[in-house]
Symmetry: C2
Subunit: 420 residues, 2 copies
């Protein structure tokens, strides 16, 4: 039995012309692959209805399923639904249920915002028109997601807004018109190793030394967010061989492995703190609030995170965190000594069990021969003492700040592991 195949069609002039970057293709592709549907191609076209229709025809010719993203909005350049109807050779019909639902929603917004509800009417009517014979998958904002057939393939039509696309997509595999297709798919299984502090080429060597991919197993090694992620995919039948490879690599990578699941790093940190009954605080200079932002990105973080201080100026380092003025003068704001005093001050003054501090030169200005752009000092202060870290990496301002944020989270993790 051949695995069912899919293709992804992204639409929109902004996407095609590089005004915005796509955030949907990798989500859809990864989910399809895990469900056992092989992704053949992803195609990006503009808003032109003939371009969309042409792309859809081509993709439908070599895939069982085409998933489209974008072009469902209320404006004149949202033409995906029309293109699907053209390829299917059907007309557009008004779906009264969609119109009613969407109108209730825009009426509610209008009331809340004090707007005239009538201004939404033309857009709502446009969005409630769907290809004859198509099914409504669900409504995101004011746009319906659709399931249809066109040019011999199943077509799932999704909005371009990533959060809306994700929500609607998760209902698609169970839709009656798609269950046969997904039933033919054998979901692939996935074994993960997420490492930090080791180079991609060293990981590649360890993969080779561990014997490489056995039959039926496919490993990818991928740097992202300053981690190296090793993704071992296997058909269920080949799982024992995949596990053997995974175990060998895990053992060779040792302490560089920080996770074997997909939990976000801040969630891993919060869980460790929660298990130990410890609260956390942050003291940030060059990262300007990003470490606190990451920690609080996780639902339920408020039982662990008490808060943080963004002390950009030296004055605030003194006033809010109690960093001694002479320490700042002697060593400078970017120093191991000040990092330590910031963490200690945050721990004490913000009333947390464990605090992490970051101070560095994010650039592009402010660097000196002794303290170049990219030099960052981190410190974790905990009940049993502290741990210091100095990092120096090249990169622009954004890269230095993100790298330092990830480093701070890893240092929190490492420190929490030493506490019982």
């Amino acid at each position: 039995m051949t695995a069912p195949s899919a293709a992804i069609l992204l639409t929109g002039n902004e996407l095609l012309r590089g005004v915005i970057s796509d955030r949907n293709a990798s989500f859809l592709a990864a989910d399809l692959e895990l469900r056992g549907v092989r992704v053949r191609r992803t195609l990006v076209v503009g808003d032109d209805v003939e371009d969309i229709a042409g792309g859809l025809r081509e993709l439908a010719a070599s895939a069982d399923l085409v998933v489209t993203s974008g072009g469902l909005g209320p404006t004149h350049d949202d033409r995906t639904v029309e293109a699907v109807a053209r390829v299917a050779g059907v007309g557009l019909v008004l779906d009264q249920e969609v119109l009613d639902t969407v109108t209730r929603w825009t009426d509610e917004i209008s009331t809340r915002q004090g707007l005239d509800p009538a201004m939404f009417e033309p857009g709502n009517r446009k969005q409630a028109h769907i290809p004859e014979g198509a099914s409504v998958l669900g409504i995101a904002g004011t746009a319906p997601g659709l399931v249809a057939e066109a040019a011999g393939a199943s077509v799932v039509v999704l909005p371009g807004v990533p959060s809306e696309l994700r929500r609607l997509w998760l209902d698609a595999p169970a839709h009656p018109r798609l269950t046969d297709l997904f039933a033919r798919a054998v979901p692939r299984e996935r074994l993960l190793l997420r490492t930090y502090g080791i180079s991609e080429s060293r990981v590649a060597d360890i993969f080779a030394e561990s014997g490489g991919d056995p039959e039926g197993v496919e490993t990818s090694i991928c740097a992202r967010n300053y981690e190296i992620e090793i993704d071992v995919r296997t058909d269920p039948a080949d799982r024992p061989r995949a596990e053997e490879l995974w175990r060998r690599m895990h053992s060779a990578l040792g302490e560089h492995v920080f996770a074997t699941d997909e939990r976000p790093l801040p969630e891993i940190v919060l869980t460790l703190a929660r298990e130990r009954g410890l609260t956390l605080a942050t003291a940030e200079s060059c990262t300007g609030g990003l470490v606190a932002g990451e920690l609080t990105s996780i639902a339920g973080s408020s039982d662990v995170v008490v808060g943080g201080a963004v002390t950009y100026s030296n004055q605030l380092k003194e006033r809010v965190l109690g960093v001694p003025a002479d320490l700042l003068e002697r060593h400078g704001a970017v120093s191991a000594e000040v990092a330590e005093a910031m963490a200690a001050g945050a721990r004490e003054r913000l009333g947390a069990n464990v605090a992490v501090s970051v101070t560095g030169v994010a650039g592009p200005g402010g660097g000196t021969p002794e303290k170049p752009v990219g030099l960052v000092f981190l410190h974790v202060a905990g009940p049993g003492g502290g741990s210091a870290h100095r990092m120096q990496w090249p990169g622009d301002r954004g890269v230095v700040r993100r790298r330092a944020t990830v480093a701070a989270l890893h240092q929190l993790r490492d420190h929490l592991l030493t506490l019982s």
Copy 2:
């Protein structure tokens, strides 16, 4: 004279299957468009040489130029060069100069890392083989970028690593084999309107009421980062008509227009504060540091931003910002009153001229009928008084936090505009 057209071919199983996200297409597309080369399509295929060749053939049939990214590495699954040769109907030949350059480079690495230089030899020889008749554009790492012709189109072959792709691409338009093509291109001009606080469908109405696109002008309306961006593109000859459309829309959109250039929103806020000689501070609860993170993302922000407080717990709201305990008790942490006290406290205790505060229910837990998930109070305290804002939008935790962050920056902007 028709504008020359281009297509982009991204290769790689990891990209196709969603293991990594592409970072090259939007860079290439935006650069091509501004140079006056119309991007027709972007296609993503896997590592299979027939898939790459097939994709290249299709793209070459409808574009003057195809730019490829990826598949130039030393391993067996890097097959782009082979695919280009197949489509061009030529063989691969060893380029001795490439081999010499690359070998010098790997010898240097070997010396530095204490490795056997011979282990690089097979990879180097593979990478030094180029399609007969192709030109070397430059070398990135151990891979040559190439310029070739295949199936009637010019083909620029680039590596997948974003920094290497960018460096080599910038030399491409001046390459002797491409100068004719780029000489035919008329760089497009772009007029922008960035709006906030108005719906996409209302913007679409205003676009229609303003007469829509005249000949030679192409407008796209795009929601991103909770703004609606109106992008009017025109050939230089049609600029007067584009300007007329832009002026009409600008006038109808009124105060919703907050920018006509591409500067990031935090930079706009910082510039307004700097022009007025005012310093800024933040007091954040549900956004957890993201507002401070945005403000400090801009180089040189330290002369305006003194810092901020992330007061997640009520205790820290009292301790760090001086919010009265009875205020918290009477109105709750998510209230207009507490938002006001947070902003006033940040202004005073952090020593800034203007402070912005955010407190809300980010969810998914913590909502009540009176204070549902998505309810956020913002306050700006300045030298001449304050301004309050209440927002309530549906969305998941990430959306609520990002929306509130953007709202805080806009409220800062609005408030700064009232100060002289």
